[in-house]
C-alpha cells in the first residue's frame, strides 16, 4: 500500500494555512487514508486538549476544597 506523501502534505498544509481547499472530484485510497489519519489525529488532539484543560481546572477546584489543618 503506497500512501502518497503529497496527499498527506496537501491535507496538512491546507489545514495549517486555512487556504481554500479544492479537493479532487474523487479521492483514491492513499488520499482517503491521508485524510482519515489526519482527521483522527485532529479529533484526538482536540479532545485531548479539552481533557488537559478540564483536568487542570479540576485540580485547581479540588485544591480549594482540601480539608484544612493537620492531625
Amino acid at each position: 500500500m503506497n500512501i502518497s506523501g503529497s496527499a498527506w502534505l496537501t491535507v496538512l498544509v491546507t489545514w495549517v494555512t486555512r487556504l481554500t481547499y479544492e479537493p479532487p472530484a474523487k479521492l483514491d485510497l492513499s488520499e482517503s487514508l491521508a485524510v482519515t489519519a489526519f482527521s483522527v489525529l485532529v479529533v484526538f488532539l482536540a479532545l485531548a486538549s479539552i481533557w488537559l484543560v478540564v483536568a487542570i481546572l479540576g485540580r485547581i477546584m479540588q485544591s480549594f476544597h482540601k480539608p484544612r489543618g493537620g492531625a
Partner: protein
C-alpha cells in the same frame, strides 16, 4: 357535461400520476411509520420523517422540500441553512449533564476513539466511487448523532439528506442490537466484570466554566463547528448557570419539540422517488451500518487499552458509549456490564464517553466540512 367534468377530475388528480416509484415510496413511508409507531424506533424523529416522505411522494401535492413555493420548501430553509440542527443541539446541551465527563476527563479519549467509524466508512465510501463530500456525509452517520449528520449532509451532499437521516435515526434505534455482539466479541468476561470506582463530585463552578472553555477552545480550533458546539454549550450553560430556568426549559422542551417537527418533516420530504430509489441509497444504508459498527469497535478497543493502562480500573464496555446516541449507548454499556456482573453499575461511568461522543462527532464533522465544504 357531468362525465366530462368527472373525466377531467380523474385525469388531473394525483391518482392519474401515481406511478410505481411513487407508490413504492408510499410503502417505504408506511414501513417507517410502522417502525416508529409499533416498534417505537426513535419515534420523535422517525414519525415526522416518514410522514414527510409520504407527503412528498403524493403527486401534485407540491410538498417536497424542493418544490419551490410549497410549505416544506420554506421550512426546509432551516435545514439548508443549518439552523434546525444547531437549535436541537442547544436543547441537547440543556438536557445533558457533563458532570461524569468533567469528573473523569479521560472519557474524552473514548469519545474520540468512537469516531473511528466515521473515517472508516469515509474511506470505504471513497473507494466505492462516492465524491469526498458524499463520503463525508455517509461517514458521519457513524457519529450516531442525528443533528450532526443532518448538519454535515446539508452542507456537503444535500441530495443524500433523505437516506442519511433515515439511516442515522434507524441505526440509533438499533444500537441495542448492533453494539452488544461487538462488545462481547472484543472483551473478555474478566474485563466486562470490572467494577469502576464512583467518580468525584463536580463543583458548580466547574460545571459553569466547562461549556465556556469548550466553546472558546473548540471554535478557535475548528470554526466550522461553531454552530453545533456553540449552541450545545449555550444550552448547557442555561442548565448549569441556574439563573435562566425559563430559557433552559424552553430550550429542552418547547423549542426542541417545534424544531424536531420541522426538521423531521422537511428532511423526510427530501426523499422523493427519483432520488431515493437508487443503488446509492442502499449503499448509504449499508455504509451507515459499517460506520456504526466500527465506531463501536474503536471505542471498545480504546477502552481495552485504558483497562491495561489503569491496571484493570476501567471497564472497556464504557468505550462503546463513545458513539453519541445519548443516552442509549450508555444504557447498552450498563446492560452488558450487568450481564457479566449483576452488581455492576456502569451507567454513570458510560455517560462520560457518551457526552464526549457528542463533542467528538461535532469535531469530526467540523474537520470534514473544513476540508470538503465549498
Amino acid at each position: 357535461m357531468f362525465t366530462h367534468a368527472l373525466d377531467r377530475i380523474v385525469h388531473e388528480s394525483g391518482f392519474a400520476l401515481l406511478d410505481w416509484r411513487s407508490a413504492l415510496m408510499l410503502v417505504v413511508a408506511g414501513v417507517l411509520l410502522y417502525l416508529a409507531i409499533a416498534k417505537k424506533f426513535e419515534p420523535l424523529l422517525l414519525l415526522p420523517i416518514a410522514f414527510g416522505i409520504l407527503m412528498a411522494n403524493l403527486p401534485l401535492g407540491q410538498m417536497s422540500s424542493h418544490d419551490e413555493g410549497g410549505l416544506f420548501y420554506y421550512l426546509y430553509m432551516g435545514v439548508k441553512l443549518g439552523i434546525y440542527p444547531s437549535l436541537i443541539f442547544m436543547g441537547v446541551g440543556a438536557m445533558t449533564d457533563f458532570g461524569p465527563l468533567i469528573s473523569r476527563p479521560s472519557s474524552l479519549m473514548l469519545g474520540a476513539a468512537a469516531q473511528f467509524g466515521i473515517f472508516f466508512a469515509f474511506t470505504v465510501a471513497n473507494l466505492l466511487g462516492f465524491t469526498p463530500q458524499e463520503a463525508s456525509s455517509i461517514g458521519i452517520i457513524g457519529g450516531a448523532d442525528g443533528p450532526t449528520a443532518i448538519f454535515t449532509t446539508a452542507k456537503l451532499a444535500p441530495h443524500l439528506l433523505g437516506p442519511i437521516a433515515i439511516a442515522a435515526y434507524s441505526y440509533m434505534a438499533l444500537i441495542p442490537m448492533i453494539q452488544p455482539p461487538i462488545m462481547r466479541a472484543l472483551t473478555t468476561k474478566k474485563e466486562r466484570e470490572v467494577v469502576m470506582t464512583m467518580p468525584r463530585q463536580v463543583s458548580k463552578l466547574e460545571r459553569i466554566l466547562f461549556p465556556i472553555i469548550v466553546t472558546v477552545f473548540v471554535v478557535l480550533l475548528l470554526p466550522s463547528t461553531a454552530p453545533l458546539i456553540g449552541m450545545l454549550m449555550l444550552g448547557n450553560l442555561f442548565r448549569e448557570s441556574g439563573v435562566v430556568e425559563r430559557l433552559n426549559d424552553t430550550a429542552q422542551n418547547a423549542l426542541m419539540n417545534i424544531v424536531t417537527i420541522f426538521l423531521g418533516l422537511t428532511v423526510g420530504a427530501t426523499a422523493k422517488a427519483d432520488t431515493f430509489l437508487a443503488v446509492e441509497t442502499l449503499q448509504v444504508i449499508a455504509l451507515g451500518l459499517v460506520a456504526f459498527a466500527f465506531g463501536t469497535v474503536g471505542g471498545v478497543l480504546l477502552g481495552k487499552l485504558m483497562y491495561v493502562l489503569t491496571k484493570g480500573k476501567v471497564n472497556p464496555l464504557i468505550g462503546s458509549a463513545g458513539v453519541s446516541a445519548v443516552p442509549m449507548a450508555a444504557r447498552v454499556s450498563q446492560i452488558e456490564g450487568q450481564k457479566a456482573n449483576p452488581g455492576n453499575f456502569l451507567l454513570m461511568h458510560a455517560m462520560g464517553p457518551n457526552v464526549a461522543g457528542v463533542i467528538g462527532s461535532a469535531v469530526a464533522a467540523g474537520i470534514l466540512i473544513a476540508l470538503f465544504g465549498h
